[in-house]
């Protein structure tokens, strides 16, 4: 019954990915359910000892950037790509190899498979890119996959080298023009969709970006998955804290349980 207990994990490394992003490599021993791309974990940058959890109090939701086998073969290695924005991520940044953390997961609903698999476009901005990497890796083995990534500067594009290592088409937009096209990543989407057959769009990034992507996809009647962020307390559907509106009179969905990935048409974008 208790199949997904919270677990102690060990920090293997915690290194800069450039541009203010970092990658936390965590080894989790014992059983761990296989995650699907787009799922996340609740991570506390403290060991589950008795002193645990007073600072920061709540665990933080973090996308599973990448999974790997452990050197010993049992358990699993999870990479979390993050940016320091507040207290919780500052404590993550301070963690040294060998220190212990607490992790619950994998959680939530990941990305759906593209309908007919002709082609897929993934579009990401900021730390949202972290949710897309595994999905891009797997998709690129099955269909034509175009990835569009955006950030303020070239350096700030999370995991660019990792994406470059995959066999897919990568286009980049930077707001300062230091790499790729000059401007917003959403500006690349219409022309991309113009040029290729695409059965599914996947987006993760700032709300304004996803709203724009959802609108573009809707105009072309292409199914579109978006991965939503929200403050969370439990991550497992019991606090009802992560609710987002489904539109006038339709109530709410829970980002942690019903998402974080949603078919963009189900959301009440006007209230997001």
């Amino acid at each position: 019954m208790t199949s997904r207990p919270s677990r102690t994990c060990t920090v293997l490394s915690n290194e800069s990915m450039g541009g203010g992003n970092f990658c936390l490599r965590l080894e989790i021993s014992g059983e761990w359910a296989r995650s699907s791309p787009g799922q996340f974990v609740m991570l506390s940058p403290v060991a589950p000892s008795q002193f645990c959890f007073s600072d920061p109090l709540l665990p933080r939701p973090m996308a599973i950037y990448r999974t790997d086998a452990t050197s010993s073969g049992s358990g699993i290695v999870i990479d979390v790509a993050y940016k320091v924005v507040g207290r919780g991520t500052a404590l993550m940044r301070a963690a040294l190899p060998g220190s212990l953390m607490t992790v619950v997961g994998p959680l939530g609903q990941g990305f759906t498979k593209p309908g007919d698999g002709i082609g897929a476009v993934l579009i990401g901005g900021g730390t949202g890119i972290a949710s897309l990497y595994e999905h891009a890796r797997i998709l690129s083995e099955h269909c034509r996959t175009v990835v569009l990534l955006g950030a303020n500067t070239a350096e700030m594009i999370l995991g660019r080298v990792d994406f470059e290592g995959l066999s897919l088409e990568l286009h980049v937009a930077t707001e300062d023009g230091s790499l790729g096209s000059h401007g917003l990543v959403t500006d690349l989407l219409p022309s991309t969709l113009e040029e290729m057959p695409c059965s599914h769009v996947y987006a993760c990034g700032p709300t304004s970006m996803m709203r724009e992507v959802a609108a573009i996809a809707a105009r072309r009647r292409i199914p579109c998955d978006v991965s939503i962020e929200n403050n969370m307390a439990c991550g497992i559907g019991v606090c009802l804290g992560c609710a987002i509106p489904l539109g006038e009179g339709k109530g709410f969905a829970l980002v942690c349980k019903d998402g974080p990935v949603f078919d963009c048409r189900t959301l009440g974008w006007e209230d997001c």
Partner: protein
């Protein structure tokens, strides 16, 4: 509504407690609003190993809650304004209750904005065998008094408890609002009106500000403060209630370890509820049961009930 007798050879006798007519496997319950309807927690907690759980508070009809943001973190605590969101009494009985494992003890929680709604919900719930007890959430604004909580006015609270009592067959618990001058007075009113026990405390009314937006961090403005930050206030209130009434007390507020639970027991709590800590670690309740067992064994406590209210008088009273 059945009075369940929990049994099983694996259960440690030293942790068994009698609480308001219920025989609990151990004194560790999960608090309303932090454990869903129990089902959601089954991947993390063996529901048959904890004392039981209080389900998310129910209204007669299903309700949507507030818009986001609904939660925020503060020093050693969190604020929430989930408000009334729940599936409603009927859906709870039809869809949720049947899914809960047989050996799990379920306490239903009820709230409303008018006494009549409470009464009707209690009537409906107390006819259900799987509902071991009903907990009345008195931290709900009483619409007729313009926003004051039921639990903030002794007269309104008395009326609520009295009427709910007559419509509830089994164990009736009342969960007190901490936003009061005199918690003991509220406890006495509950006792006088026939409550079988009281749950102390609900979240403290609070506010935090988003400096950038110059606005409350919560959509709803005010919210409830919970978590370790409120533990010393909750302990004080449990202790004050213990002095005031002889019906059993369920201690709530910031409990995240067996040590915390023991503090409440020493202050007079017969059982305890774990709230926010379920978010911090979904296995908290089971871990606390384990910790209590260790404590009893290490300290040769034959029955944890022997510790209830055993706080020594402060030093100035003995010297």
């Amino acid at each position: 509504m059945g009075r369940l007798l929990m049994s099983g050879t694996v259960d440690a006798e030293c942790l068994m407690v009698d609480f308001a007519g219920l025989r609990l496997r151990n004194p560790v319950l999960a608090a309303s609003g932090t454990f869903g309807y129990g089902l959601e927690m089954q991947s993390y907690v063996d529901l048959e190993k904890i004392g039981g759980f209080v389900a998310k508070s129910l209204t007669l009809e299903p309700r949507y809650g507030n818009s986001p943001p609904r939660i925020a973190e503060v020093s050693s605590g969190m604020l929430n304004s989930i408000s009334l969101e729940n599936v409603g009494v009927e859906a709870f009985i039809r869809q949720k209750l049947p899914e809960v494992p047989q050996e799990a003890l379920v306490i239903a929680s009820v709230f409303g904005t008018e006494i009549a709604h409470y009464v009707e919900a209690c009537e409906r719930l107390s006819s259900e065998d799987r509902v071991a007890a009903i907990e009345i959430n008195a931290s709900c604004p009483h619409v007729k008094s313009g926003g004051i909580e039921f639990g903030q006015n002794a007269q309104i609270l008395g009326k609520l408890v009295g009427q709910v009592r007559s419509s509830t067959v089994g164990t009736l618990l009342v969960k007190l609002s901490p936003n009061v001058t005199d918690i003991a007075e509220m406890a006495r009113v509950c006792e006088a009106e026939g409550a079988d026990g009281i749950s102390v405390i609900n979240a403290l009314q609070a506010l935090d500000v988003d400096l950038k937006e110059r606005r409350s961090v919560l959509w709803n403005g005010l919210g409830g403060l919970s978590g370790p930050a409120i533990l010393p206030v909750a302990l004080r209130m449990v202790w004050q209630c213990f002095q005031a009434v002889s019906i059993p007390i369920c201690g709530i507020g910031g409990i995240s370890s067996a040590e915390d639970a023991l503090k409440f027991i020493l202050c007079g709590a017969q059982a305890i509820q774990v709230g926010t800590a379920n978010y911090l670690n979904p296995c908290s309740t089971e871990a606390i049961v384990g910790g209590l067992l260790d404590y009893c064994q290490e300290n040769r406590v034959g029955s944890i009930q022997d510790l209830v209210g055993c706080l020594q008088p402060p030093r100035w009273k003995v010297s």
